[in-house]
């Protein structure tokens, strides 16, 4: 079994669905930082069988809305002095602004860059979609 030391001060993103770890790593641009970061993939998990984990030895701003879009099962732990001081369960965001574009080619937001649409969570045929505040079309988010 591979062993990775615990971190003293920073962020642990846990319970990432196996396969999504690398996507989050890239979205957070962790390949460009100058502090220690560990990406663990396919870690045995009692709940999910396998999971990915990201350990960041520094406190950085993490976009929770973006994490929720990629994988709502994630847990974000804030570590200080070797202890978890804050544990945040991520959920599917009810509103999203600026993270993706409206898929409707006729939507004004794809032509006028002055504003970006607010998307509200909507379910369609059992799938998660977002409704554009300008044209009301549904857009699904994929990474």
């Amino acid at each position: 079994m591979l062993t990775v030391n615990s971190i003293n001060c920073g962020i642990v993103i846990d319970h990432i669905t196996a396969g999504n770890g690398i996507k989050i790593f890239e979205k957070l641009k962790l390949d460009q930082v100058n502090f220690p970061v560990v990406l663990l993939i396919n870690v045995p998990s009692s709940k999910h069988g396998r999971k990915d984990i990201i350990k960041i030895e520094n406190k950085i701003d993490v976009d929770l809305t973006m994490l929720g879009l990629i994988d709502p099962n994630i847990t974000v732990n804030i570590i200080e002095n070797d202890k978890i001081v804050n544990k945040m369960n991520i959920s599917i965001p009810k509103e999203v602004t600026g993270l993706f574009k409206c898929k409707n080619p006729r939507c004004v937001s794809n032509f006028d860059e002055y504003v970006s649409p607010k998307f509200k969570l909507a379910y369609a045929n059992g799938k998660i979609h977002y409704r554009c505040s300008y044209c009301e079309e549904l857009t699904s988010y994929t990474i």
Binding site: C107, E113, V115, A124
Partner: protein, 314 residues
Amino acid sequence: MGLKGRHLIDPNDFSLEELNEVFNLADKMVEDREAFGSICKGKILGTLFYEPSTRTRLSFESAMLRMGGTVLGFSDASTSSVSKGESIADTIRVLSTYADVVVMRHPKEGAPKLASEFSSVPVINGGDGGHQHPTQTLTDLLTIRRFKGTLENQKIAFCGDLKFGRTVHSLISAMSRYKGSSFVLVSPAELRLPEHLKLSLTEKYGVTIYETENLEEVINQVDVLYMTRIQKERFFNEADYMRLKDSYILSRNKLKNAKEDMLVMHPLPRVNEISYDVDADKRAVYFKQAEYGIYVRMALMALLLGVNVNVNGK
């Protein structure tokens, strides 16, 4: 909350009570138009038409002129600063200081909504792409109300281009809020009502929707038949347009099986989807519908402007 200073982007921006306020005033204007001939004296309507429109623009202009107001604006985006790449936000910030109420037609969906976020005066959506056309909807609602005496318990068939037809999208959303509404959608598979709209109507209002490709199958069951033009400009290619444009034509012969008091409505202009021999049928109300468009726009603008509409004790 009152209608003064409000925008009209989507017909459902107004409550049913507020819509009634518009229709009640429009009814009074139909009865005695001249009594309202100077209620908007000193007021200016700004017409921002980013794509060609004859009917809607002239209807708005006529409505304002008939109330004693004046109009300014453009009817072709290529002659305005828009052609220089100005954002909608900048355009409306400036133009809303020139007018007391603004109507905007734009080919991009959501443009009037964007404008309303930056305007200092009421913005009326005069049609945005295939999305909404709320003043046509108000016209349609007034027409149904005047002929049927109510907007409740109506079974409405929509026929033709239901995919890109914004008048259909607006009217079906608006009618969904009235008790007992049900809908029959008659279109070729390629031009069906968008899924997102169908979904929001059934989820939000629990309305019943029946879809068919055959008009004759359902014409005897409905209270209102709303015909639409298959619009060439909404198609991505000429071949698709040519293949589908003649699919759904209403003739006098097809009307034989319809109810005696069914209304045939159309947002106009028509091309060939309603044969000329239907015009003489008493159920054909589309020209009356166009006339009511003036009155409903008069009533709407008067209420958004908050002018005194109590004329001669009416």
